[in-house]
């Protein structure tokens, strides 16, 4: 028992205690406590400092709208800054620290800012810090940045895990107060699949703080009975600790479940938080109403609290917010709180009522001061009194806590997230959700019904209507009987006149009434301007308490209705959600799926260093003993392929099987070069354009039978090309009879390249693979010795005599092993992407380094391939546009350094010799470059203005980024075997 813990009452478990720490001080609480209730019980009211003026701040609410009580929980990499103490469930070992103060919460240097407050009025930084100009970067900005933010994050690797789930239901009920419970029961009994989600760790909503009896028993017992019945219904899922944070298109709701945020050491096999995407046929918002704070002088002093929160602390947590409490109210709710506090034997110092002739009954012996206004509060780090003004007379009343009750705001946040604007209700003096159609229905206090009986009825009725809508029949159950209650009425009070101290609107961001006045004066009167200019409503609580008062004040100052001011835009998230929860398991190595080639194991055995290429891992090179860099290995592999033979995994290239009587016609329209007459048993290089005439993708396509082709695509565009084909077949030419299927994963495909490739291959293949029997660009199904069927293609990227052999994926590794074994005598080596790249640059073959999405076939030297005969193919028509055929376009050329020990790097630009570097003088760029072990110096492919006319000329290869430039000679882009003699042996 502590000074502020009441002797009895509440739904906490007094039989056990939980030890926790705040700012290093050991404290005790009970299961069922929030951190805030436990702090209050331990007389720790002061919990933080405000953003701008570092004013001492205490706990204000008992829920998610808390602006002040933000603490840092946890240690090291598991640190959670800006955690609301009012919703943090207490656990043994919890370690919380206050924020935005130095050196300590009690003594904070930053509080000096308060003295400067006249200079720090709304929008001050837009007017200042400009003189002298140079000071901004060096002096002012660092100062402002130092003051930024509240909590401190560590940005370390999060030790905890998260996951995501989908859920489906007929009815999602958000909020498990009286409204939500009745709705869930009604729908659940009717047989609907119901999800009942509530952000609290204990369900019951306001019933947990309610003293009225329902069905002749305490409200809490009623809530428990409802929950017990719900648990027994087979189609009902109850989700505590689950905040519904967003309402998205098609009635999909985002929710986050705090699975293990209330334990010291989370179990590894469970996530700490879980993201739910709830697909709901219907949803019912039973999120209740939020009590409205009052704007009066000194209203931010620790000890000033929402009256309803005091009630909750007393009734639900058995905690007194103070020993002597004054209530400042503009309606009957304040009286309800007063009598609940009195019932707990907490002294009620006075009820200050802004109304002229209140009819509400105060607890016995409590003084009521009507027509009054609180104009200031006393005390430093906790209130010790307040100053009341009535009819021009001031009086100081001693108290150690002030409860403020300014009326009610339905919690309609979710309902307004999809563009519909809240509607002002003059009767209720508040904003209500607009009509949203059938998907989302608002009920109970969230719909402006404040009486308990009304809420129970509303929940039941609306759920019954939804059930009927969805074709379920509901039995009529009698509504629970509710004891005597008053429907709270109030008279809106936006500002308590006569303030003698700053009257705050937004506590966390330190926005006070004068800031709003200034904004208005300077032309920022539109509610969105005022928000941005003063930052009201932009703090971590998103204006849950403040926004309505800001609207009311702006209306009042202009003499217009709040309806004309409106609200600012409601946006997800209802309360802030951790990145981790929204990312789920997609993080680190798991951030994207991995694709592995069937030859991955083979490559690994042969010492491959892998590199990612899209989702795939591909061998970059195969280091051998003694090789120090990738270049050593690559050079060896290149030479080996040119002199002997090499084996390279090309399984990742996209493979698309194309079937149908119109397959040839289809390909003919798809590629810019002709395909109609490709004979069976032949492969052909094909080039696909985009419709705008730019090269898209290339690869070989082979005809295996009259109605069956197999196309290869580049690895990078395999998916894109497949979609492109499907689009063309389904949408562009639906009349063509053609079907596709990807077989990329079915085949392990190996390039066997080099002068000795035939020797190696013939040893394994039954069929004759000689040049006569299987000439360049042949494609056929062959049989491996032992009877295995395989596909063989005679194509070459390296420029050497080469084959590509495809075998069923599962056998890939075994076949590759066999080839290596057979090839050992011929000096075979495995070669990787790096060597492949060198080999193709030496041959002037293009990849996506050249086809970068801006290059035409002609730019890359394929001009003659583009069929002039065909009437139509994708890209034909727009490829003749002026800009795509202009004479000064950049054309692909080869480059070799004039001094052969000089280097060329891809990405360098080209300049005429002697020309000054400038955008205007820019002649082109290097697309690919490498060291050619075959030639003994660097070579490059480049795009150069009118390049093909300039062979023999010199250019400066300008690489300012590396600080160097090189003079190179422009040459034909095929460096090795331009006559293709090695290919066709």
């Amino acid at each position: 028992m502590t000074a502020y813990r009441l002797a009895s009452g509440g739904v906490i478990d007094r039989s056990s205690t939980l030890s926790f720490k705040f700012d290093g001080r050991a404290m005790k609480g009970h299961p069922g406590d929030t951190l805030a209730s436990a702090l209050l019980a331990n007389d720790q009211l002061l919990v933080g400092r405000s953003f701008k003026y570092h004013r001492p701040r205490g706990i204000v609410t008992a829920g998610p709208s808390e602006p002040n009580a933000l603490v840092t929980i946890g240690e090291g990499a598991a640190t959670d800054p800006n955690t609301k103490a009012t919703v943090a469930e207490l656990y043994a070992g919890l370690d919380a620290r206050s924020q935005n103060r130095w050196p300590s919460l009690k003594h904070d240097i930053g509080a000096l800012n308060g003295l400067l407050s006249p200079f720090l009025s709304a929008g001050f930084y837009y007017k200042t810090f400009m003189w002298p100009a140079a000071f901004w970067e060096k002096v002012y900005e660092p100062l402002i940045r130092r003051a930024a933010g509240l909590g401190r994050t560590v940005l370390e690797h999060d030790p905890h895990s998260y996951e995501k789930c989908w859920a489906h239901c007929d009815l999602l009920v958000v909020g498990a107060g009286p409204t939500g419970l009745m709705a869930a029961l009604t729908a659940g009994r009717a047989g609907l699949r119901v999800i009942l989600a509530d952000e609290d760790f204990r369900l019951g909503g306001s019933l947990l703080a309610e003293t009225t009896r329902i069905d002749h028993r305490p409200a809490m017992d009623f809530a428990e009975a409802c929950l017990a019945e719900l648990r027994a219904l087979p189609h009902v899922t109850i989700m505590p600790r689950t905040t519904v944070f967003g309402w998205y298109d098609d009635n999909v709701f985002g929710a986050v479940e705090r699975v293990q945020k209330h334990v010291v050491a989370p179990q590894a096999k469970l996530p700490v938080e879980r993201l739910w995407r709830i697909v709901a046929k219907r949803a019912l918002l039973a999120t209740g109403a939020e009590e409205r704070p009052l704007v009066f002088g000194g209203n931010d002093r620790p000890g000033v609290m929402m009256a309803g929160a005091m009630r909750t602390y007393a009734n639900r947590f058995g905690v007194a917010a103070g020993r002597s409490v004054a209530i400042f109210t503009n309606g009957s709710a304040g009286y309800g709180t007063a009598s609940d506090l009195a019932a707990h034997e907490i002294e009620v110092a006075a009820i200050i009522d802004s109304r002229d002739a209140p009819l509400d009954a105060a607890p016995a012996g409590v003084r009521v001061i009507p027509s009054a206004s609180v104009i200031d509060t006393r005390g430093r780090q906790r209130v010790c009194g307040l100053v009341v003004e009535r009819a021009g007379f001031e009086e100081t009343i001693a108290c150690d806590a002030i409860g403020m009750s300014g009326g009610w705001n339905p919690v309609i946040h979710l309902a307004c997230q999809r563009g519909a604007k809240a509607v002002w209700s003059p009767e209720l003096s508040t904003f209500l959700a607009p009509d949203l159609g059938s998907g989302l229905v608002v009920a109970g206090s969230a719909a402006g019904r404040y009486s308990l009986g009304g809420c129970l009825e509303d929940g039941a009725e609306r759920a019954a209507r939804i059930a009927a809508d969805l074709g379920f029949s509901t039995a009529s159950n009698p509504l629970p009987a509710v004891g005597e209650e008053v429907d709270p009425s109030f008279t809106a009070l936006w500002y308590s006149p006569g303030a003698k101290a700053k009257a705050f609107v937004d506590f966390q961001n330190d926005v006070h009434v004068k800031d709003l006045g200034l904004a208005l004066r300077e032309g920022f009167g539109h509610v969105e301007h005022a928000k941005r200019y003063t930052t009201t409503g932009m703090a971590t609580d998103q204006g849950k308490l403040s926004a309505i008062n800001a609207t009311g004040l702006l209306a009042g100052m202009q003499g217009i209705s709040p309806a004309d001011v409106g609200t600012t835009t409601f946006r997800p998230f209802y309360t802030p959600v951790a990145f981790g929860a929204l990312a789920g398991t997609s993080r680190d190595e798991h951030a994207a799926p991995v694709r592995k080639s069937p030859l991955y194991g083979w490559a690994e055995k042969n010492g491959a260093a892998f590199v990612d290429s899209g989702l795939w891992y591909r061998p970059a090179f195969f280091a051998r003993h003694g090789e120090k860099t990738w270049r050593d290995s690559t050079d060896r592999e290149v030479v080996n392929v040119r002199q002997h033979v090499g084996l390279c995994d090309v399984s990742t290239l996209g493979k698309i099987e194309i079937f149908g009587p119109d397959a040839a016609e289809f390909l003919n329209r798809l590629y810019c070069n002709p395909f109609l007459k490709l004979p069976v048993g032949k492969a052909r290089y094909g080039l696909m354009l985009r419709e705008d005439g730019i090269a898209y993708d290339d690869g070989t396509t082979s005809r295996l039978s009259p109605q069956h082709f197999v196309m290869t695509t580049t690895t990078a565009l395999a998916g894109g090309v497949m979609s492109h084909l499907e689009y063309c077949a389904q949408v562009v030419w639906p009349e063509l009879k053609v079907r596709f299927c990807s077989s990329t994963d079915q085949w392990a495909q190996m390039a066997i390249a080099g002068p000795k490739s035939r020797l190696v291959l013939q040893a394994l293949v039954e069929d004759d693979v000689s040049d006569a029997a299987f000439p360049f660009l042949s494609a056929a199904v062959v049989t491996l010795k032992g009877g295995l069927n395989a596909r063989l293609f005679r194509i070459s990227f390296s420029g050497e005599l080469a084959y590509e052999l495809a075998v069923p994926a599962g056998l890939g590794e075994a076949v590759a092993d066999a080839i290596m074994e057979e090839g050992r005598g011929h000096g075979i080596c495995a070669y990787g992407l790096e060597a492949l790249n060198v080999l193709r640059i030496e041959k002037g073959h293009v990849t996506h380094a050249e086809f970068d999405g801006r290059v035409t076939p002609d730019d890359a030297g394929f001009g003659r391939m583009v069929s002039a005969q065909k009437t139509d193919f994708i890209g034909k028509r727009l490829s003749t546009r002026y800009g795509l055929t202009a004479a000064d376009r950049m054309q692909m050329v080869g480059l070799k350094p004039v001094e052969t020990d000089q280097h060329i790097r891809a990405g360098a630009h080209l300049l005429r010799e002697g020309a000054k570097a400038s955008t205007l003088n820019d002649q082109g760029y290097v697309s690919s470059a490498c060291y050619s072990p075959t030639l003994g110096h660097d070579i490059a492919l480049a795009f150069l203005k009118s390049g093909r006319e300039r062979y023999g000329e010199r250019v400066v290869v300008w690489d300012k980024l590396s600080g160097g430039d090189t003079v190179a000679e422009i040459c034909h882009p095929v460096f090795v075997d331009p006559g293709n003699t090695r290919l066709k042996v």
């Binding site: 298109d249 098609d250 995407r277 697909v279 419709e691 979609s723 499907e726 389904q730 639906p734 009437t871």
Partner: protein, 92 residues
């Protein structure tokens, strides 16, 4: 739309399963059509505020191209039809 799409072949699916291919009201011109017509086909978009027809492909499902008719402001979907069927009817 945008959260879920009702594929006529596969049922209700999350938007992650689809990729969008743009305006379905443009029709590929005949090869001999004017330069203007070709330019408009490739580049010009009516970009309406309100009802709009778009091609979506159910890439992670049936892989069919679909024509989704929807409102670009409310995101309400009016219809989802198989793209080839629409194209064959000439309504493409």
């Amino acid at each position: 739309m945008a959260s879920l799409i009702h594929c006529p072949h596969c049922g209700v699916r999350p938007s992650q399963e689809f990729s969008i291919r743009g305006d379905a009201s443009v029709v590929r011109p005949a090869p001999e059509a004017s330069d203007e017509a070709w330019h408009e086909y490739v580049h010009i978009r009516s970009n309406p505020h309100g009802r709009h027809r778009e091609h979506w492909q159910h890439v992670a499902g049936c892989r069919r191209g679909l024509v989704v008719e929807r409102d670009t402001f409310t995101h309400d979907v009016f219809s989802v039809t198989d793209g080839a069927a629409v194209a064959r009817e000439g309504g493409r």
